[in-house]
C-alpha cells in the first residue's frame, strides 16, 4: 500500500492478507483517477444530470421558529435515490468502470446505500449484489423492493443481529472469494483504507456546496454544522467543507437508541472504546474482552458499532463534538419537521434534527445552524406509523 490510511492512530487496514492486494489495486486506481480530467468531467456531469447536484440549502423558517434559532437544511434528501449515498455510489461506480470491473457488491443498512449502488449498477450495466441483514430487510422493505426493481440481487444475511455489521462481514467474505472481477462499493467513511479517504472525497461535495451557499444566501458562515453519524459519510462530507473554519462548531449526532447507559444504542463515539473492526482502528462498542456488542437504533442506517476513523480523530482533537439522540426524541423531531415544513426526513437525519430541538432555549436567536438532511423519510413511514400512530 502506498499510504498508511491513518487519521492520527486511527484507521489503517486491518484485513486478512488476501484482501491486501485488492485494497492496493483500489488505492492505486483511486489516486490515478480522482483528479484525472476525464474522470472529473464525467463525474461532474453525472452528478448534475443524474443525481441532481447541487442540492439546495433551504432556510426552514417554521422549524426555526419552533427551536428559536435559524436552521438551514442541506437538502441531500432531494437527490436521486433519496439520500447522500448516491454521491459515493456514483463516484465509486465510475471508478469501478475505469478499473474495468464488471460486478458490484455493497452492504447496506437502511437500504439507501444498497439502493444507490443498485441504481449505479443499472446505470453502468454491472451485475450488482447487495448484502443486507434480515432485520434490516424487514424494516426497510420498500428499499429492498426498489433495489430488486433496479436489477440487483439482495442477499439476506442471517448472522448476528441481522444488521449493518453483519452485512459488512459477509460482503467482505464474499469479496475475498471474488476479488478478480468484483468491486466492493463500500457505503460509509469507515472500513479499511482506502475507503475512508475515497468516501470522504466523493461526499465532500456536500460541504463545498454548503459553505458556498452559506456565503451566497446568508452572507456569512454558520455558527454550527450538524449531521447524523452512522459510519460517518454524510457527516464527514459536510464537515470537510468547514473543518478549516475554526469558529464553526461541528456536531455529530449518533444513535442513542433506547438510551446510552440504560440500554442498547449505537453511540460509538459517545460511549465506545478504541478497538479494531472491519479493517480499521476506531472507537468501537465492545465488551471488556473485545467482543463486539449488539447495537440498537430506530434507524437502520445508524445501527452500527464502529465509526469512521477521521471522526475518531476529530473527537480526540476536540475539533468536532459528538452527542447522541434517543429514539423517542428522534421520532418527535421527525414529526416536527414534517408538520412545520412538509419535509419527511429520514430517521437517520432526524437524529441531527433531534439534537437541534434539544438546544431550544440554549442558543442565541441569531444562531445559524446548517443541518445535513442526509436523506428523505419515505422508507421510514411504516416505522413511524407503528411507533407514532396518527390519531383518527
Amino acid at each position: 500500500m502506498k499510504y498508511k490510511g491513518r487519521f492520527g492512530d486511527y484507521g489503517g487496514f486491518y484485513v486478512p492478507e488476501v484482501l491486501i492486494p485488492v485494497l492496493e489495486e483500489l488505492e492505486e486506481a483511486f489516486y490515478r483517477f480522482y483528479e484525472d480530467a476525464q474522470f472529473v468531467a464525467e463525474l461532474a456531469q453525472l452528478s448534475r444530470d443524474y443525481s441532481g447536484r447541487p442540492s439546495p440549502l433551504y432556510h426552514a423558517k417554521r422549524f426555526s421558529e419552533h427551536v428559536g434559532f435559524e436552521v438551514y437544511l442541506k437538502r441531500e434528501d432531494l437527490l436521486h435515490g433519496g439520500a447522500h449515498k448516491v454521491n459515493n455510489s456514483l463516484g465509486q461506480g465510475l471508478l469501478a468502470k475505469y478499473m474495468h470491473k464488471t460486478k458490484l457488491i455493497a452492504e447496506t443498512g437502511a437500504g439507501q446505500h444498497g439502493l444507490a449502488t443498485a441504481m449505479i449498477g443499472a446505470l453502468f450495466g454491472m451485475e450488482t449484489k447487495i448484502f443486507m441483514g434480515v432485520t434490516d430487510i424487514e424494516r426497510q422493505s420498500v428499499n429492498v423492493h426498489k433495489m430488486r426493481l433496479c436489477g440487483a440481487q439482495v442477499v439476506p444475511i442471517e448472522g448476528g443481529t441481522g444488521t449493518l455489521k453483519d452485512a459488512i462481514n459477509d460482503a467482505l467474505r464474499y469479496w475475498t472469494a471474488h476479488v478478480t472481477d468484483t468491486f466492493y462499493l463500500f457505503g460509509s467513511a469507515c472500513g479499511p483504507h482506502p475507503y475512508p479517504t475515497i468516501v470522504k472525497h466523493f461526499q465532500s461535495c456536500i460541504g463545498k456546496e454548503a459553505r458556498q451557499q452559506c456565503i451566497e444566501q446568508i452572507g456569512r458562515l454558520p455558527e454550527m454544522v450538524v449531521a447524523c453519524v452512522g459510519g460517518g459519510s454524510n457527516a464527514i462530507g459536510i464537515f470537510s467543507g468547514f473543518v478549516e473554519d475554526k469558529d464553526v462548531r461541528l456536531v455529530g449526532v449518533e444513535a442513542g437508541g433506547v438510551g446510552v447507559g440504560r440500554g442498547l444504542h449505537a453511540a460509538t463515539l459517545v460511549a465506545g472504546r478504541v478497538g479494531i473492526l472491519h479493517g480499521a482502528k476506531a472507537y468501537l462498542l465492545q465488551d471488556e474482552q473485545g467482543q463486539v456488542c449488539e447495537t440498537e437504533s430506530v434507524s437502520a442506517g445508524l445501527d452500527y458499532p464502529s465509526v469512521g476513523p477521521e471522526h475518531c480523530l476529530l473527537k480526540d482533537t476536540g475539533r468536532a463534538e459528538y452527542v447522541a439522540a434517543e429514539d423517542d426524541d428522534v421520532l418527535d423531531a421527525f414529526g416536527l419537521l414534517t408538520r412545520t415544513e412538509g419535509i419527511l426526513p429520514a430517521l437517520e437525519s432526524s437524529h441531527a434534527l433531534a439534537w437541534l430541538v434539544s438546544q431550544k432555549g440554549k442558543l442565541d436567536p441569531g444562531t445559524v445552524a446548517v443541518v445535513n438532511l442526509s436523506g428523505r423519510g419515505d422508507k421510514d413511514v411504516s416505522i413511524v406509523e407503528e411507533r407514532r400512530p396518527l390519531a383518527e
Binding site: 487496514f13 488476501v18 491486501i20 471474488h178 472491519h278
Partner: protein, 265 residues
C-alpha cells in the same frame, strides 16, 4: 516445551508431512472441546491450530462462524482459552499455533496477551486480520514473549510481497490454498502447487497449507507439492457440528477421519 523445529525435522526423517487440525477453542463447550482435541492428538495430530472465538470473524466461512457462536454461547473467552491450553498441554506436549482476531489482542494488551499465552504453552500466533504492514504492532511483544509469528500467503500475493512475508514469518508460513474464506472445498485451486514451490524457494521456514482442505486426497496433493504441513479446519469443525447431540460419535468420527489423513501424508 516442544518446538516446531523438532516436530518438522522428526517428520522429515520419517518422510511425513505434519498433520495440523484446527479447532475453535470451547466448541461446542469447554469439556467436549477438550475431549475432541485429546482425541485428535491420539489420532496422530502433530501440531494443533487453535482459534479463540470472535464475534466478527471476517476471514471465516459459515462452518467456523457457527463454531465461534457455539463456543461464545457456552462462555468461552480469552481467560478460559488460557485455561484450555494449559489443560491440553497437561495432556501432551504438542506444539500449538494460536489464531485470533486482532481486537482480542488489542484489548487484552499485546504484551500481556502474548506473555500469558506463551506461558500457557502456545508456540506461535497468527492474527487473522493483521498483515505484515502492521506487524510491528505485534512482532516485538510476541518475540519477547518467545512466540513465533505466523503470517499468511495467499494465491494473489505478488512475488515482492511474498518475500517480505517470508522474512517476517517464523515458525511456519500459513499458505492459503484458495481465494476466499475458510471452508471445505471440492477442489483446491491449481495455483497451490506453484505457490508452495515459490515459497520453498524463498524461505527455509516450513510451509503449511490450509483453507479448503477436506480430505486425504487433497492433503496428499498438497504434500506432493512439497508442503511441510497440512492444516484442516472446516471439515473437522463440521464433524463437531453434525454430531452435536452425540459426543461419542463426534470423537469417533474425528478420530477416524484424522487417522485416515495421517496415513495419507
Amino acid at each position: 516445551m516442544k518446538a516446531y523445529k523438532q516436530v518438522f525435522s522428526e517428520l522429515k526423517e520419517q518422510n511425513k508431512t505434519a498433520l495440523i487440525p484446527f479447532f475453535v477453542i470451547g466448541d461446542p463447550d469447554f469439556d467436549t472441546s477438550l475431549a475432541v482435541v485429546k482425541a485428535a492428538i491420539d489420532a496422530g495430530a502433530d501440531i494443533l491450530e487453535l482459534g479463540i472465538p470472535f464475534s466478527d470473524p471476517i476471514a471465516d466461512g459459515p462452518t467456523i462462524q457457527k463454531a465461534d457462536i457455539r463456543a461464545m454461547t457456552s462462555g468461552m473467552n480469552v481467560n478460559k482459552a488460557l485455561e484450555f491450553i494449559r489443560r491440553v498441554k497437561d495432556y501432551r506436549d504438542i506444539p500449538i499455533g494460536l489464531l485470533m482476531y486482532y481486537n482480542l489482542v488489542y484489548q487484552y494488551g499485546a504484551e500481556k496477551f502474548f506473555g500469558d499465552f506463551h506461558e500457557a504453552g502456545v508456540n506461535s500466533v497468527l492474527v487473522a486480520d493483521l498483515s505484515i504492514d502492521d506487524a510491528g504492532e505485534i512482532t516485538g511483544p510476541a518475540r519477547s514473549a518467545g512466540l513465533d509469528t505466523v503470517f499468511m500467503v495467499t494465491p494473489n500475493t505478488g512475488p515482492e510481497r511474498m518475500k517480505r512475508i517470508a522474512a517476517k514469518t517464523t515458525g511456519f508460513v500459513y499458505t492459503v490454498s484458495v481465494l476466499g474464506v475458510t471452508g471445505s472445498r471440492e477442489r483446491l485451486s491449481d495455483t497451490v502447487e506453484d505457490l508452495v514451490g515459490r515459497l520453498k524457494s524463498l524461505t527455509d521456514v516450513p510451509v503449511c497449507v490450509g483453507f479448503g482442505i477436506s480430505g486425504s486426497e487433497q492433503a496428499a496433493t498438497v504434500t506432493r507439492a512439497g508442503a511441510d504441513g497440512v492444516i484442516i479446519g472446516s471439515r473437522i469443525v463440521g464433524l463437531i457440528e453434525s454430531n452435536l447431540g452425540d459426543g461419542e460419535g463426534m470423537l469417533a468420527q474425528i478420530s477416524t477421519f484424522l487417522a485416515e489423513v495421517r496415513a495419507a501424508i
